[in-house]
Symmetry: C2
Subunit: 450 residues, 2 copies
């Protein structure tokens, strides 16, 4: 869909929304459908080729509306109000267009925490079943969770919130955790009387897009009864391309897995998906059942479309910290149908190719070096020279305001991260960015010869 | 703004969005403004009277855009991508219009948890400063948090997540907690060697919209060093009307306060606001500082508009569980300006009047009784008779699909909750609903005479 079509479709959607709200009281306030009604109405898989917008729109009334509870019907008197007004809808349209992130990395953090809490609950129960007299506080004080020294800060925060010890496993020269490194730390900790219970593996770390060796780590975790959570917040989207699927080898050992379609799969922020191997582990950690949340289909294992996007369904309000979420699955559904698998793969491949193009530019300039293997859409690079020099370069780049980069630290070195981000980035933007960076570098090196 | 105007404005907004995205690369990718730039551009307070939409729209370029980092500019290479596509924007428009809640009561739950974690951290530090040798696990195992027996299930869940003991304080005949009831439990628990550290007071409980006596509870909490959090998820919106402000007396004793504009203040789901008395307590519980999150204005105490809606600003990514959020403050801003304080007050007062109208209808029908004082927009009522009878009535009401209600339990009794919810609910809908309910009751009582 190009901008011209968006102008047309957007205006049609405005009319649809206006019609819907103008006539809402003619709709039955509460749906008649049974859980699972969607299954026969939609295909098993996302379409290979893009569908037309007309086809998608036709299905709003056919597929979506029969499952909707009309919270804004004047005949809805349940729970408490949930707000709705025209200005807020207009603002949300704009907010969606700007699509900026309040601050970065959204709800992969929450998935990391939810998995850690489930793992904590599972381990406490396991130990209590062998030793029912042992005080729970004593068990929790001995628990220890692990992640790579390259893992996102939200992993450390999850440990802090869960009130458990957290230890970082040293990564190798490629910034990945190997099984051997984990095993060494586990032996030390068990000898000291600690109880290992959780490992957060990262596929595509934030600093350099490194991949932990889950084929080595997974079997160790399974043997030791350690919950392995995989955080693939960024890289997860790439697995829709067969050529990147080998990066996912070992996923079969995981207890939970998370990635963010709102990062790299064309679904506007925020939209994060979490998969859990054994849902009872999650439910045990969160379950509460007040009367005002009781509903007829609680135990059926299937939820209607107005809930949100987790692979397992069931009563999802027991699976997370807030009870409610926005209707995010709708965004995924539109995007999958309008792009098709091919369109989404094209998007991923184009970004990876642009990163490779940038990498090639860096490699032919002898003043620069590449700091980590370029696997997907991220290039880590720096000027050969001191950290101060690179910090000065970054400062000039960001002060000039033509492009925007952030740094990272790899093995004590200050490194610049060039991440291909926008849907509309083309080769010419990459070429221009590199010309701009090298010009600033030339000026810098003229003023401060190395 | 009526539907006709929404049709016009929505189409203008579609064009604005299309123009913005079509020309985004002409905009400077990263803003020049200093933190605080907004302060001189916007009034100190929300407008008393509605403003025109033209005035709001003019300010998008004047006020908002200068503070925006354009995440979808092809010159943006920082962090990782955040997704954006036209189908997702269209879906979000529809999602906003449907405005259903994935499941209920949104992020007040998160505020309750965040406050509990901050309180836990504050109490552990306080005890360690007196007794540095005491093991942290021992302190945590003695901590005890409190709430009313009427409090929302998310309070209990917060205790479960935080790994602390949770105790419910018995409410009085009006379903409110009095100071005396809290004091009694505190004495027992302290005598047993426990450490009280957190009380979650509710203003407007979920079952019956009851108000805890915070003028009595607050001073006790302050004296004992107990963190008092106020959950006013629903009722909070009513405090924009002076006549409801006395319900807020005692708020000065609170350490934190939460309410949901997405419930009753015409801001589409989701949008929840939290106020904290001393921000260092929150920061201490969450702070992490990786290099890729460092930015120039970290310590300045002011954030630009692309962050979200908490009363205190600072580096808000340290204040919560996820790092990122959607651009929700935009919705509040549009709504406050387009309705003005008067318009919002009218909305609240209309809902309360409709609840009183329904209450009066119930009171003149001798077969029914009112089960709790009607303070705001919620009426708790039941047929005089058994719980089974009332359960049967509710079942008939919800099976008929014309209106939708949920039940609650008050003092062991099965009670029906009639909450005025939709913006468009009018007297005729309330009258119709009551006629419908009484007809079903008549049929039921004919079949099963009491």
């Amino acid at each position: 869909m190009d901008t011209a079509e968006f102008r047309r479709r957007g205006k049609e959607m405005v009319d649809y929304v206006a019609d819907y709200l103008e006539n809402i009281e003619k709709r039955q306030v509460y749906p008649d459908v049974e859980p699972g009604y969607l299954r026969s109405l939609i295909p098993e898989e996302a379409p290979e080729q893009p569908e037309t917008y007309e086809d998608v729109v036709k299905d709003i009334e056919r597929v979506v509306m029969p499952g909707i509870t009309h919270w804004h019907s004047p005949y809805f008197f349940a729970y408490f109000p949930t707000a709705n007004s025209f200005p807020a809808i207009l603002a949300d349209m704009l907010s969606g267009a700007i699509g900026c992130v309040g601050f970065s990395w959204g709800t992969a953090s929450e998935a990391t925490l939810v998995a850690l809490l489930a793992a904590r609950c599972r381990m406490v129960k396991r130990i209590l079943s062998d030793d029912p007299e042992r005080p729970e506080a004593d068990i929790i004080s001995k628990l220890v969770a692990y992640s790579s020294d390259q893992a996102h800060s939200s992993v450390e925060r999850a440990g802090l919130i869960g009130g458990v010890r957290m230890r970082k496993i040293p990564s190798d020269s490629k910034f990945s955790v190997r099984g051997e490194a984990l095993r060494k730390v586990l032996e030390e900790d068990k000898a000291a009387g600690l109880i290992p219970f959780y490992f957060c593996a990262t596929l595509g770390t934030t600093p350099s897009c490194a991949f932990d060796y889950i084929t080595e780590i997974g079997p160790i975790c399974n043997t030791e009864g350690i919950w392995m959570h995989i955080d693939a917040a960024y890289a997860g989207s790439a697995f829709i391309c067969p050529e990147f699927r080998p990066l996912l080898d070992g996923v079969e050992f995981a207890d939970s897995f998370n990635f963010n379609p709102h990062k790299w799969l064309l679904v506007n922020f925020d939209c994060s998906t979490m998969w859990v191997k054994n849902r009872t582990d999650i439910i045990a950690a969160f379950k509460m059942d007040p009367l005002y949340l009781k509903h007829d289909h609680q135990e059926s294992g299937i939820h209607t479309l107005h809930t949100h996007t987790h692979t397992h369904t069931h009563s999802i309000c027991h699976w997370q910290i807030p009870l409610g979420r926005r209707f995010r699955s709708l965004k995924i559904w539109f995007v999958f149908r309008m792009y098709g698998l091919r369109g989404l793969q094209d998007h991923i491949r184009k970004h990876v190719a642009l990163a490779k193009e940038f990498e090639a530019l860096v490699r032919v300039d002898e003043r620069f070096q590449i700091s980590a293997e370029v696997v997907l859409g991220l290039v880590c690079f720096r000027l050969k020279g001191s950290n101060d020099l690179n910090e000065a370069l970054l400062k000039r780049i960001n002060s000039a305001r033509r492009i925007h980069l952030v740094p990272c630290q790899l093995s004590g070195r200050f490194v610049l991260r060039f991440a291909v981000c926008a849907r509309t980035t083309e080769s010419r933007h990459v070429q221009e960015a590199w010309a701009h960076i090298t010009q600033l570098a030339t000026e810098l090196l003229r003023q401060f010869p190395q």
